[in-house]
Symmetry: C2
């Protein structure tokens, strides 16, 4: 998606360790007009998949998912990072490793909001190692729901997450696929 790639080049910031910060328009400050273009594009890609629910993970996925959901006329469910020590009985849970924060989280979703009749489109801001996405897939599979695919805003295609998840037979559509980044700020897209 040219508009998004141009924006990443213009406003993205690269930090050592392959960190790409896009917090001026995607995950701290949010350009809602851009998200609407993202929503239209995901709708174009997945409109024939029978999506009845959009699923994401807090926090930065939520805003994107809500804007995207408008094009599908479906509700959003967001998985929560559990802060407590006890996992309630009426949830599906899994664990997700965050490389950014160097922690493992319990991630939960109420059983009430995912069922075997659901056809789910996963939405998230980033795909790198695939940890968050794999966690969401675990939760959907625990509920017996169908996965229509995953819509990702930015994929770091030089990391393995996207490849591994596509190998499972899951459709992954990333609107910007970063092939490489250099510490002096040059970004190449696939």
């Amino acid at each position: 998606m040219k508009l998004l790639e141009d924006r990443i080049v213009k406003d993205g910031k690269i930090f050592p360790g392959n960190v790409l910060k896009v917090d001026s328009f995607l995950n701290h400050q949010v350009d809602v007009e851009l998200l609407n273009e993202v929503g239209k594009e995901f709708y174009r890609l997945f409109k024939d998949s029978g999506v009845n629910k959009i699923f994401t993970i807090e926090a930065s996925g939520i805003g994107i998912a809500c804007i995207v959901a408008q094009y599908f006329n479906v509700p959003v469910v967001f998985a929560k990072k559990s802060l407590g020590k006890n996992i309630a009985a009426d949830v599906y849970s899994t664990q997700v490793k965050s490389y950014t924060h160097g922690k493992v989280y319990d991630v939960i979703v109420s059983q009430e909001f995912l069922s075997k009749d659901d056809k789910i489109l996963i939405i998230d801001d980033f795909l790198a190692m695939g940890c968050a996405l794999n966690g969401l897939i675990d939760l959907i599979q625990a509920a017996g729901a169908e996965i229509c695919g995953a819509g990702i805003v930015i994929e770091k295609a030089f990391q393995d997450g996207g490849k591994l998840i596509r190998q499972k037979g899951i459709r992954v559509e990333s609107l910007a696929r970063v092939e490489s980044m250099t510490d002096d700020g040059k970004i190449t897209f696939c």
Copy 2:
């Protein structure tokens, strides 16, 4: 807002300790169509206030803020709950007590995204004791920005947060103001 009050009566669940769960439509599963009505109403209330940015706090405020922002054609900034021990130098920070989780969080926002030229509308899902809202006000005041007001989806008017914040001279508009709740499920609105 009648539509919202009706939905709270229909789908809200009351738990001991004045807990009102609305996670089937507001803060776990999200009814985006309802949020659009919420967005229209906040726009009607604040459209003449010169709002140029919407400010909220992760996680459940983000989706609401993004939908609302579409009516104002402005970006969203969301404050982050800091998980690390160190607060970066280029952020404004404050502390917020969560009664739900029994914890005190550091809450931060990058200095880059709030400035003295900003006219801010705060958006959040709940107002009870006012801890989160006071935290957001602290951050805005640290940046020297102007507060146009706060748009709250559900206010527990039997708790003191709303009163105390209005006493500071801040305009607070809550779309549903709960006067009382009983453990057997009866909700009365102001």
